[in-house]
């Protein structure tokens, strides 16, 4: 177990360094922040002004030194200051991240509530008309542009029925439409995963044993089959986590949800790169950590995983 843990943690660290290095390097390609800062602020400035600002921002040093210093600060929870307004980036991230996580996790929970019962039903009644209908509708869901589904839901529930606020409300009612949008799109994939996983576990011998013991079918399905099926399902959910965050970024734009996506778009239009760098860094670290935790949990539950 110790070697397994060590290997996983080492791999996670490698990925974090690789991604943050790539992002930092790309951001540096945007040009000289000092020049941008000066042209964005005062009209006339001298070469000495530029030098002074470069030194104060620390960007007169080699790239790798800058990267190391940035990561050292990040480890202490300091993501630098914004170009414009000189505000600490962690304040902005601290406000946006909970909003995004709330939206993403609500959507994930919602999609599991939809896809687990449907997937189990499809697996048990394999080949039936309802199984094929579920299969078809999951394909339709996979083909839906998420932002268009969002617009259609707004058209239905806000514009026509006046039931829910269309956008811009960081409230429980404002959460409903963006979360439903993401949950529906996610369910399209998850229902297929649940079905596949359940078909696999239901063909196992211990299921036949459980059935021959005379256990009720619901106990066999939910207690024996689903529990074992949850492990591979969890791995897929972890692999999806990145796409879920990507989807959240787009959907936040439709509903003006004050999360990381909206923050990133503000940063892009203002060319305020420290904010963008903070958003991407937090996202990729989050993805790696979630997958690391799932890997470790998997290793704890299933000893076979530890020996590769």
């Amino acid at each position: 177990m110790a070697t397994f843990l060590l290997k996983r943690v080492f791999l996670a660290l490698f990925v974090i360094v690789a991604v943050t290095l790539l992002v930092s390097y790309t951001i540096r390609l945007s040009g000289d922040p000092a020049t941008m800062l000066m042209t964005g602020g005062q009209a006339n400035f001298t070469a000495q002004d530029l030098e002074r600002i470069r030194a104060s921002l620390g960007i007169d040093r080699p790239f790798l030194v800058q990267y190391a210093l940035y990561m050292k600060d990040v480890l202490r929870g300091n993501f630098g200051t914004t170009f414009f307004g000189r505000q600490p980036v962690n304040q902005l991230l601290g406000r946006a991240l909970p909003a995004t996580l709330l939206l993403a996790l609500t959507s994930l929970a919602g999609s599991l509530l939809i896809s687990i019962p449907l997937g189990i039903y499809a697996a048990v009644h394999r080949g039936s008309l309802i199984d094929q209908a579920i299969r078809f509708f999951s394909l339709v869901g996979l083909s839906f542009p998420n932002f268009w589904l969002a617009i259609i839901l707004v058209l239905m529930f806000s514009v026509t029925l006046h039931l829910l606020p269309p956008s811009g409300f960081f409230t429980a009612a404002g959460l409903v439409l963006p979360a439903v949008t993401l949950a529906l799109i996610l369910s399209a994939i998850n229902v297929r995963l649940v079905r596949a996983v359940m078909l696999e576990t239901l063909s196992m011998q211990y299921i036949a044993v459980a059935r021959s013991k005379g256990l009720r079918e619901s106990v066999v399905l939910y207690k024996h089959a689903l529990r074992n099926g949850m492990i591979p399902l969890l791995t897929y959910v972890g692999l999806q986590f990145g796409d879920l965050l990507g989807g959240t970024v787009i959907i936040e734009q439709v509903f003006n949800w004050p999360g990381m996506g909206s923050l990133a778009f503000e940063a892009i239009s203002a060319r305020d790169y420290p904010i963008l760098q903070g958003v991407i860094t937090v996202f990729s670290v989050l993805i790696v950590v979630v997958n690391l935790l799932i890997d470790i949990a998997y290793g704890l539950v299933d000893p076979r995983v530890r020996v590769e």
């Binding site: 974090i16 945007s30 080949g127 996979l142 542009p145 932002f147 259609i152 990507g246 787009i250 997958n291």
Partner: protein
């Protein structure tokens, strides 16, 4: 869906059979998939190909006296007009051409690069294999939308960068799939015997491994054209994709949003166009997967 789950239905026993000898899909639903998929994709491709003839103005001519005409009222504008009096159907046809262009070129690029790398790495293993798997790990931590956000923020939006980013983020899927195919095929008798009689590695990969690995790669290709059309339209929708002055599906939806209260058709029809063509491609990909893998369908 992730490529590992996409390719997982493939079983080795079927690889030897040539496509012509495979039994036809049994279930009615399977052939329905093929028919519906062909109709949806065929209709859209037909509309796009005919657009030069049907809409010589490419949907650019504005008619401010005919602003926001509702659909199904004027035979000249069957799907109505947008806020500038441009024909919605014409713009859907022109925008579809761009979406399809992005979908096909990005997938072709990613497939060529990824397949080549995956086959070589899977056949020879060694250090290249290790490097590839680490790139796969890194790729998982930087999903396409986040990667696109970073690069487009720096280099600005546009058609070429969009295609390059899609290739950069997706070649890994083909590489991983081709790698696993090559790894299992290299142990098979016909490859072993080709090696034993002294056939060169490059020639084995091209003549023996590639043809037998082509099925799952083809499925992934079909499904990814659909995925990339979705990704392109969502990036264009948020203003990071195709130039907003050009007619595109994502751009039409972004413009139409403002008029959602009064003119639903401006947002509903371009969205339906995306849904239909992507659904058509997904149906074809799904059908193809079952067709190539008779053991997976029971």
């Amino acid at each position: 869906m992730d490529s590992s789950t996409r390719g997982s239905g493939w079983s080795r026993g079927t690889l030897r059979m040539s496509l012509a000898h495979l039994p036809r899909p049994a279930s009615q639903f399977r052939s329905l998939e093929l028919i519906l998929g062909t109709i949806l994709v065929g209709a859209m491709v037909g509309l796009i190909l005919a657009s030069g003839f049907l809409f010589p103005d490419s949907g650019t001519s504005m008619d401010l006296s005919a602003r926001l005409k509702p659909p199904f009222t004027d035979p000249l504008h069957p799907l109505g007009t947008d806020p500038l009096g441009r024909d919605v159907l014409a713009r859907i046809a022109v925008g579809g051409g761009i979406s399809l262009l992005v979908g096909v070129t990005s997938v072709a690029g990613a497939m060529l690069v990824g397949t080549l790398i995956g086959l070589v790495v899977g056949y020879y293993r060694g250090i290249g294999d290790l490097v590839l798997m680490r790139i796969v790990d890194v790729q998982l931590a930087l999903p396409f939308v986040l990667m696109a956000l970073t690069f487009i923020a720096i280099f600005g939006p546009g058609l070429p960068i969009l295609i390059i980013l899609l290739i950069a983020s997706q070649w890994v899927q083909y590489a991983r799939l081709a790698r696993s195919q090559a790894m299992s095929l290299r142990e098979r008798e016909f490859v072993q015997s080709a090696r034993a009689i002294g056939v060169k590695g490059a020639s084995i990969i091209l003549r023996h491994v590639l043809p037998n690995a082509a099925g799952p790669l083809l499925v992934l290709t079909t499904l990814n054209i659909a995925t990339n059309i979705l990704l392109e339209s969502s990036l264009t929708f948020v203003g990071l994709g195709i130039d907003p002055t050009v007619a595109s599906w994502g751009g039409m939806l972004a413009d139409g949003r403002t008029y959602i209260q009064s003119a639903w058709w401006v947002t509903v029809f371009p969205g339906l166009a995306i849904l239909f063509v992507v659904l058509g491609l997904n149906l074809l990909g799904d059908w193809l997967r079952d067709y190539l893998d008779p053991q997976g369908r029971k």
